[in-house]
């Protein structure tokens, strides 16, 4: 991706859309993603929130946001956004809302809401061509309730509902569900993965998305210090390793056409990423789980070899499970 607007870090706004002292965890990757995302969006934003970690941002009587906010429920933020967008358009048509008072409508959800309980309302909003932004902060779990397995949980991860026991020594045996591909089926105008460790890539994508009317969808891999078990100061580093190992591909799809926006010149081995996180500790201690690590590496390798063969849409399937489904 050739960046048109965000050519250096200096281009990123110095305006802070998020005030200090919010209630989220130290080192929260979600807050970092939200901050960068909001900087690129600018002013006049309405957030429509689904239940998750971010719901606690607005805790009466405080909100860290300089923009408007409404919490709906867990399953239906995209439907709430439909109502907000439609009402703004109605008010504009009636001459009750000037163009400079118009709002960008942004759904803010975690992966639990995006992948599971809210998938139906999301697919419906994309189908209706709703003119909105959607930011899924993907911490690969139900984070706010204490790190339970979601459909985004990666293979081999320990979670609160998939503890490491003698009968379950490998962690989760489900592959992470590919939300990007699920959304891409409907060929929305703009769809991208982002990472807070690559702020220029992230910001440029929001700039590019802004040229389109209709659904503009983003999935941000979101390191979660308490859930993933790492020191909060390493949030950005973990996010960077996810990209440099090839585990989190940075890409976009314009009307369904996929392009990778950052391909590491040399991929780091996945264990560089895994070994830094307590949720994968059982793969290394007390003895190395070679089979599981190899499987995770093979899945990443398969993905990128398919990309090289330009077949990611049809042949990006994960490697066969070493431990069965």
């Amino acid at each position: 991706m050739k960046r048109e607007f965000y050519k250096s870090l200096r281009t990123i706004s110095h305006e802070e859309p998020l005030g200090p002292g919010g209630p989220l965890c130290a080192g929260c990757g979600g807050q970092l993603n939200l901050r960068l995302f909001h900087k690129a969006l600018g002013e006049n934003v309405v957030f429509v929130n689904a239940a998750g970690c971010s719901t606690l941002l607005a805790t009466y009587p405080l909100t860290p946001l300089n923009s408007s906010w409404i919490y709906t429920a867990m399953a239906c933020a995209p439907a709430g956004a439909q109502g907000v967008r439609d009402a703004l358009d109605i008010l504009k048509a009636k001459g009750k809302l000037s163009a400079d008072q118009d709002r960008k409508v942004v759904v803010l959800t975690g992966d639990g809401a995006a992948q599971d309980i809210g998938l139906s309302s999301t697919m419906a909003a994309i189908h209706r061509g709703l003119d909105f932004y959607y930011l899924c902060y993907d911490n690969e779990s139900y984070g706010n309730t204490g790190f339970q397995t979601s459909a985004s949980t990666p293979y081999g991860s320990r979670t609160a509902t998939c503890p490491i026991t003698p009968s379950s020594p490998h962690g989760s045996l489900h592959e992470k569900r590919d939300l990007f591909e699920i959304w891409r089926v409907q060929r929305p105008p703009y769809l991208a993965t982002v990472s807070a460790a690559y702020p220029l890539d992230l910001s440029e994508k929001i700039y590019r998305a802004g040229k389109f009317k209709g659904p503009k969808l983003f999935i941000a891999l979101t390191p979660c210090p308490p859930g993933w078990e790492f020191d909060p100061e390493w949030s950005v580093e973990i996010a960077r390793l996810a990209v440099e190992t090839g585990i989190w591909p940075l890409k976009e799809a314009i009307h369904g056409e996929v392009a990778h926006t950052h391909v590491p010149r040399k991929f780091a081995p996945v264990e560089n990423y895994l070994a830094r996180q307590g949720r994968f500790r059982h793969l290394f201690e007390p003895k190395r789980d070679e089979e599981t690590i190899t499987h995770i590496q093979a899945t990443v390798n398969n993905y990128w070899s398919a990309v090289r063969n330009n077949e990611v849409s049809s042949d990006g399937a994960p490697a066969p499970h070493p431990h069965g489904p």
Binding site: I70, P78, V84
Partner: protein, 414 residues
Amino acid sequence: MTRTMLTGNAAAAWGARLAEVDYVPAFPITPQTEILETLAGWSQLGEIPARVMMMDSEHSMLAAAVGAAATGVRVFTATSSQGFLYGFEMLYAIAGLRLPLVLVNVSRALAHPITLEPDHNDVLSARDTGFLQFHAETSQEVLDSILMAYRFAEHEKILLPAIVNLDGFYLSFTREAVEVPAPEETRNFLPAFRPAYPLLSNREPVAMGAAVLDPSLYSYFKHQMHNAAENVLTIYPKIAGEFAETFGRRYGIIEEFRLDDADYVIVMTNSFASMGKAEIKRLRQKGKKIGLARLRLIRPFPHEELQRVLRGRKGVAVVDQNISVGKGGILFSEIASALYPLADRPPVLLSFIGGLGGRRFRPGEFDGMLAKMENPTESAAETVRPHLLFTGEECRQVGRFFTIAREEEPSRET
């Protein structure tokens, strides 16, 4: 004003049309669908400015209603039964956010077993949500109640959403003569929407639906909702009076039918009250001093009005078209609580469950209810339990269904 024949559903659509609603999020379900089809048709033809948006479920439909009302437009929607329950979570959201929209529920009994005919377990499940509830007997009342519901809902001392309820099939698909007011006339009673609350479209940012982690704060906001709902009772005479002045039709909180000298009172709601009234007329011809009180407003609950209407009577029979399984009639319990503090409360208060799944009353049932009020023979323990209306003939009919269900395929080998 035009006089025309309208089904209950068409009257509901006309109510929304005359209220000049801006936005109608929609999802189909029998027997309500005709309301949204009618509005969608008008919208497509440009006959109404409202935007009708087909959503992916009732939950999404009500979420879109939240978003739109929070942004500052007048919202209308409708549902029934299972759909009402599917969107149930959002009823609390709408009420808790104090968004003054109107939702028409076309009552239909709840699965399982699945059925299409009406009773009120669907709408009464929302009695604790914070929605105001108006229950209509006729098509005219459906239209009129929608206009009045917006006045109450949008009132700055109330700011709560409202449900207007009508019975599926019996009213939704029954054509009745309806006076349809002219738009200018309606605007005199219900002016254009001017939201009396902060909006997402305001220049200044707002945060709505913020978490409240302090129990006292939570209690405070809930108490506020309760007090706001009770304000309906004091504001009611003014708004009903203005309605009567504008349109010539006066609606009480409770409709009093042949109650003047009545010793005995049957309490009912919705369209089945029409059947009750016919029975009252018949019993009156036999010289019985009996009347009918029809509850129109169920939330807020009109305790004082009920006390006024029922105090000093010899007997009251509450016919609940609902069943709280393991307890009995929902309205019976509420009415009992309203009457308890009265020194001259009716000495006999009986509970009857009728009309479940659209069951019609059988000949003799109202005579039986009256006889039980006139000659109470039951113990206190028996009196508080509901009488489940069911006849021997129905038992035999059920038996015939059982026989058919048990019948094996005739063997082909012989």
